[in-house]
Each structure stands twice: as C-alpha cells, then as structure tokens.
C-alpha cells in the first residue's frame, strides 16, 4: 500500500470506530446494572488473601500487602493507603458493585466484588 494514496479518514473507518465505541460502552455499562456485591475479594496474584463483608466498616491490613490499607465504609471498599509509587489504586476510589475492580500492579493486589450468592466462604473477617 502506497502511503501517498492513504487518506486521513474515510467513511468506512469512521463506521468501524463508532462500532468499537458502541461495543465498549455496552460492555462498560453492563456491570453498572448489577446489584451491589456484598463481598470484596482481595487477591494477591491468584491466591485469595481475604474476603471482606461490605456491610462491616473498618480499616484492614494484610501481611501480603505491606503498607496497604483497605477501608470498608458505606458498603464500598477503597484503598486508602499504599506504598506503591503511583497510587493508582488509591485514585480509583471506592467500588461496591460486582464487575468493578481496584488493582495495584506493583503490590500484585486485585480487589473484586462478588455477590453473596456466588461466594463460597473461605474466611470471614470480623
């Protein structure tokens, strides 16, 4: 393909991009329709470090994540303290619905929300 004939944009490619946007937005809004979760599952790698009930407020720390503080308040969980460089996990804010996640790549931490029905309890922290 000669680049001299290449156009900046045309109708076909605009349609392709609009379809990608529609598809992405559809994927983005499906989790928002889900019910409130009930449990926050904190994983270190593929190992479940903890399951927290979202109706029990408090600050939690775990030996797997040194320097990180997880806060449960108003039925949502957030990372309120982290020793990682960019604090992306803290900027994500709080999550409460299934499908939402918080991740901290440097600390290998991933927080997901699960509903009560799905969760088979390993540990309940009180």
């Amino acid at each position: 393909m000669e680049n001299k004939e290449r156009k900046v944009i045309n109708k076909r490619d605009t349609i392709i991009m609009v379809l990608i946007i529609i598809f992405a937005l559809a994927c983005a809004f499906i989790p928002k329709l889900a019910d409130d979760g009930g449990y926050a599952v904190i994983k270190c790698g593929d190992v479940v470090a903890a399951r927290l009930e979202l109706n029990k407020d408090g600050d939690y720390t775990f030996p797997e994540f040194e320097g990180m503080v997880f806060t449960v308040a108003d039925g949502a969980i957030s990372v309120t303290k982290s020793n990682c460089g960019d604090h992306t996990c803290m900027r994500t804010g709080s999550i409460s619905r299934s499908g939402e996640v918080i991740v901290c790549v440097p600390n290998k931490a991933a927080i997901t929300i699960e509903s009560k029905e799905q969760s088979d309890l390993d540990v309940v922290l009180k």
Binding site: V8, I9, M17, L25, T88, E100, V103, P106, A110
Partner: protein
Amino acid sequence: MIGIKPEKVSAARYVAVMGMLFAATAALNLIESILSAALPAGMRVGLANIVIMAAILSINLPSAALLVILKAAFVFLTRGFSAGLLSLCGVTLAFGVTALLFRKTNATYILISVLGSIAHTLGQLLAARVILGTGAIFAYAPILAVSSIAAGVCTGIVLKAVFPQIERVLKKQT
C-alpha cells in the same frame, strides 16, 4: 546501527533524526503521565506510538523497532519494573499492529492510530494480567478502549502532519 540505516541517508543525519525521535518519545511519555492520571491502574493510551508510527512511515521497520526497545528501556529506568514491563508489552503490540496495517491494508491514518492505541492498552492489560495473576483487570477494558479511540484520533491527525517533515529532513541532501 549498520544495516538498520536506510542506504540513501547519511549516518550523521540518521543519528540526529533517531536521537530527535527518541527525545520525542521521552517528552511524550512525560506529557502522557499528566494526561493519563485519570485512567485506572497506571494504564497509558500510548501517545509515544506517534513516534513509532512516524518511524515506520518515514524511516523503516528496524529503526522503529529500535525506538520501541529504547522507549521501553526509558520507562524501565524512570518508572520502575512493573511500569516498564507494561510499557514494553503495550508498545511492542502497538508496533506490530500498526506496522502490519501500514504495510498490508489501505486503512486510514486515524483508524491505524486508533487500532495501534487499542493494541497498546491491550498489551498493557495482558502484561498486568500476567503480573497480577488474575483477569480482574480486564474490567477496565471498555473505558480504556474509549480513551484509546480519543487518543488515536489525535495521534492520527498529528502523524499525518508530522511524518512527511521527518522524511524531508532525512532525505535532504547537503
């Protein structure tokens, strides 16, 4: 460097242009740090792709590949291991996708930039998936796809304006 440099271009001119392009990736990296603050999980939309694409178009594939390696090395040094790994995977995938599209299809500049940007975020998601050991991070894919499209439209327009100038500087006889 021998073998990478196009034959028609003088060595001094080639080194100067490559240095300039690498400086541009470093500068874009800095700008992107500010722009990407709103994106989750340290993801980047890949503004520096613009330089890689310009190199594919105006110099050749090996030179663009060299810039890919340099860019990832720069991120390793400035932002640490996990950011470096994310950047390496993202920029390599973006390079592969854009190189293929430029060589094999008649897709427009903006579509190629958009798909390159999406490939960049996808590469980062895959790297993050490997580091984290969980697919949870793919929940970010939709928001990243939309921001990639916005970034890709911008880089596509700038690319079309910029790459002929790089080509002109390279080919100029002294």
